[in-house]
């Protein structure tokens, strides 16, 4: 094996813990090994040894409280709670009682008693089958190490003394190390261990410090002062990069920073074209926890809450109460914006997994089988418990109900009757709900789009689900390689169905949205605006870009483009028009 030249470029791949690019000199944070010496404490010194240990615990606690205050100031309460877990470990009987017991009974030194107690807990956690619990052994180790440092009288290493832009390299970092990185010259960090769920990764993300973890032995392969690049987007660390590489990364970092600043500025701006046409830009979610994410991205509400998530990862059917808790939480946290809750859109196979075996059989063609509203209407108990939960949650915010997979008027009426009957039931029980709750449907089956003028009379709103609408209209399974080239969102048939749907809705004085992937396609945005959709709902991370696109457009131009497209909606012509529009 040849030893690499001192300044040879080396590339390490790890786990991306926090995005961003950091460039700087390596600063190595030393690591304390917990293997410590054991010696016997003479009987007369036992008491002093116990107080030495207690003092170290007290000092550690003081240090942690300091860190907690710092986090509280920088990031707020929810992050400061991370330290709470560390404080609890510190106060744990395993440390506060068992270590003292080991010192007094076995007459061993405090360092040894502590390392034994910590090693025992770590060993048990290591055996856990769940990654999350395995990861928690680092928390226990961190606390143990902190106490040990105080026992040994070490001064904590300080990052605040850094005098040039640096990349911190360590075996592992504790949250308190991480929080100190807000110090001026700590640009980013790279560590041997850690995963995406480690506290340190969470903090790095919130502090917006670029970080790569899980690099195995970076702390032993880098020397202090080595030039380093941490690419938190790809999880790559480059040691001793050439000047060209550094320049490239600098440029990329500047571009990304500029982009982020632009998007942040956009967050509180309306989704409005230059000439003042306003659309509602909402986001699709699967779980209540995503709400803060969509608000951070500047979305105006939840355009599609897919409730299927509630049915996943469980052994039995969710109760009405389960549903209610989820919906109330979303309704409350998204205020003042609305949430559109889509009723269950699962197939029969899923029910089987939940132990609901009542005449569910495997279907030869599930996409044309019992799913969406069909399944809900067949198993009305299931449907009604979800509807009651939605109605009850409606007092907590602005809630709307939307049915999936409706093929025509009869189904919509039947589903609406179920809602009305649930309302009556709640009225009798004197349970409050929003009497004016809007009830709408998804337009995703071609037959519904073809009778949309009837549906528009009876629905409060409609939302076009493009993924299914395209598949069903063009009879194309887009994951089938043989035919996927036929999956064309801008097929004239699709454009015509969208156009008809919007026209019918507006003629009836109702609003209409779109919640499929097509809504996020930047090329298609001008056409969707030109077709006069009132609302677009996309995945949270796509909201800022889409908003920027909308704000760069003129509605009049979009209108003209769409008229040209509708005149000759063949693929070649549409592509030509779009190209010309892009280069206008």
């Amino acid at each position: 094996m040849t030893v690499p030249a001192a300044d040879e470029t080396r590339v390490f791949k790890g786990i991306s813990a926090s995005p961003g690019i950091a460039i700087g000199r390596a600063f190595l944070l030393e690591d304390m090994d917990l293997a410590v010496g054991r010696w016997m404490v003479p009987p007369e010194a036992v008491k002093a040894e116990v107080s030495r240990f207690r003092a170290a615990v007290a000092d550690t606690r003081k240090e942690m409280l300091g860190t907690q205050q710092k986090i509280l100031k920088l990031l707020g309460k929810s992050h400061a709670n991370l330290i709470e877990a560390y404080l609890l470990i510190l106060e744990d009987p395993l440390i506060s009682k068992d270590v003292v017991k080991a010192i007094t009974q076995n007459r061993v030194n405090a360092e040894y008693a502590l390392s034994e107690a910590v090693a025992g807990a770590v060993k048990t956690l290591e055996a856990a089958s769940d990654e999350y619990f395995r990861e928690r052994r680092h928390d226990v180790l961190d606390v143990g190490r902190k106490i040990l440092l105080h026992l040994l009288g070490h001064e904590p290493q300080s990052l605040e003394d850094l005098s040039e832009p640096s990349v911190i390299v360590a075996r592992n970092l504790t949250p308190s190390d991480t929080i100190h990185m807000k110090a001026q010259f700590a640009e980013g960090f790279a560590t041997d261990i850690g995963g995406r769920t480690s506290h340190t990764a969470i903090l790095a993300n919130s502090l917006e410090i670029p970080a790569v973890v899980g690099l195995h032995e970076i702390s032993r392969r880098v020397r202090p002062g080595d030039m380093m690049i941490v690419d938190g987007h790809t999880g790559t660390v480059i040691v001793n990069p050439t000047p060209d590489v550094i320049d490239n990364y600098r440029r990329e970092r500047d571009i990304r920073q500029q982009e982020r600043r632009d998007l942040e500025r956009l967050r509180d701006q309306p989704a409005q074209t230059k000439d003042g046409r306003r659309v509602v830009l909402a986001a699709n979610i699967d779980a209540p926890s995503e709400v803060k994410n969509i608000l951070a991205n500047g979305a105006e509400g939840v355009g599609l809450y897919r409730t299927e998530f509630i049915y996943l990862n469980r052994k039995e059917l969710p109760s009405e109460e389960d549903h209610y808790q989820f919906y109330a939480k979303v309704a409350q946290s998204v205020l003042p914006h609305p949430v559109i809750i889509r009723t269950l859109d699962i197939g029969g196979d899923k029910l089987l997994d939940l132990g609901f075996s009542q005449d569910t059989k495997s279907e030869p063609n599930p996409f044309l089988g019992l799913r969406g509203i069909r399944l809900a209407l067949k198993h009305e108990d299931l449907f009604r418990s979800q509807l009651r939960a939605i109605l009850r949650a409606s007092v907590h915010g602005k809630v709307r109900i939307m049915f999936p997979m409706v093929s025509g008027l009869e189904e919509f009426r039947q589903a609406k009757r179920a809602v009305e009957s649930c309302m009556e039931e709640l009225r009798q029980k004197k349970v409050p709900f929003d009497e004016k709750i809007e009830v709408g449907l998804m337009i995703e089956i071609p037959s519904a789009a073809l009778v949309v003028d009837y549906l528009a009379q009876e629905a409060d709103f409609m939302s076009i689900g493009t993924n299914d609408l395209i598949q069903y209209t063009l009879a194309v399974d887009r994951v089938n390689d043989e035919v996927s080239h036929l999956y064309e969102p801008l097929h004239p048939a699709i454009l015509r169905l969208i156009h008809q749907t919007v026209a019918a809705a507006h003629a009836a004085g109702k609003w209409v949205g779109m919640c499929g992937e097509m809504a996020a396609d930047a090329d298609v945005t001008p056409i969707l605006l030109g077709l006069e959709l009132d609302e677009l709902s996309v995945s949270p991370s796509l909201v800022p870009k889409l908003k920027k696109n909308i704000r760069d457009l003129n509605f009049a131009d979009c209108k003209a483009l769409t008229q040209d497209v509708m005149k000759d909606p063949t693929r070649d012509n549409v592509q030509k028009l779009l190209r010309r529009f892009r280069n206008r």
Binding site: N81, L82, E84, A85, L88, I89, D92, P93, L94, I95, A121, T124, L125, A128, S129, D130, Y132, F133, R136, D139, V140, H199, A287, P288, S289, N313, R314, K315, D322, Q325, F326, K329
Partner: protein, 88 residues
């Protein structure tokens, strides 16, 4: 002495934050509280004990409380486990 079994409803299991909340809840009581999962038993006031139980989503936890305020322990645990159902 009261004994009762609860199901862990948190999708992520009793990880650091819920475990911390559980310990903080129990520290308010004088009663001795033991938690049992299968054949492993730990001190309910020990965060590390609870973490070593690795009580994942859906696992059954038996709580044994003994002391003057044991009924209070069970009542607040009941509230704790129901509220956990809606956290992720």
């Amino acid at each position: 002495m009261i004994e009762r079994t609860f199901t862990v409803q948190n999708k992520m299991g009793l990880h650091a934050r819920p475990a911390a909340m559980l310990v903080q809840t129990l520290q308010k009581f004088d009663s001795q509280v033991r938690l049992r999962k299968e054949d492993q038993e730990v001190d309910g006031k020990s965060i590390m004990g609870i973490l070593t139980l690795t009580a994942e989503y859906g696992s059954a936890l038996t709580v044994i409380a003994e002391g003057m305020d044991e009924q209070g322990v069970m009542d607040s645990l009941e509230r704790f486990f129901t509220s956990q159902a809606h956290e992720e």
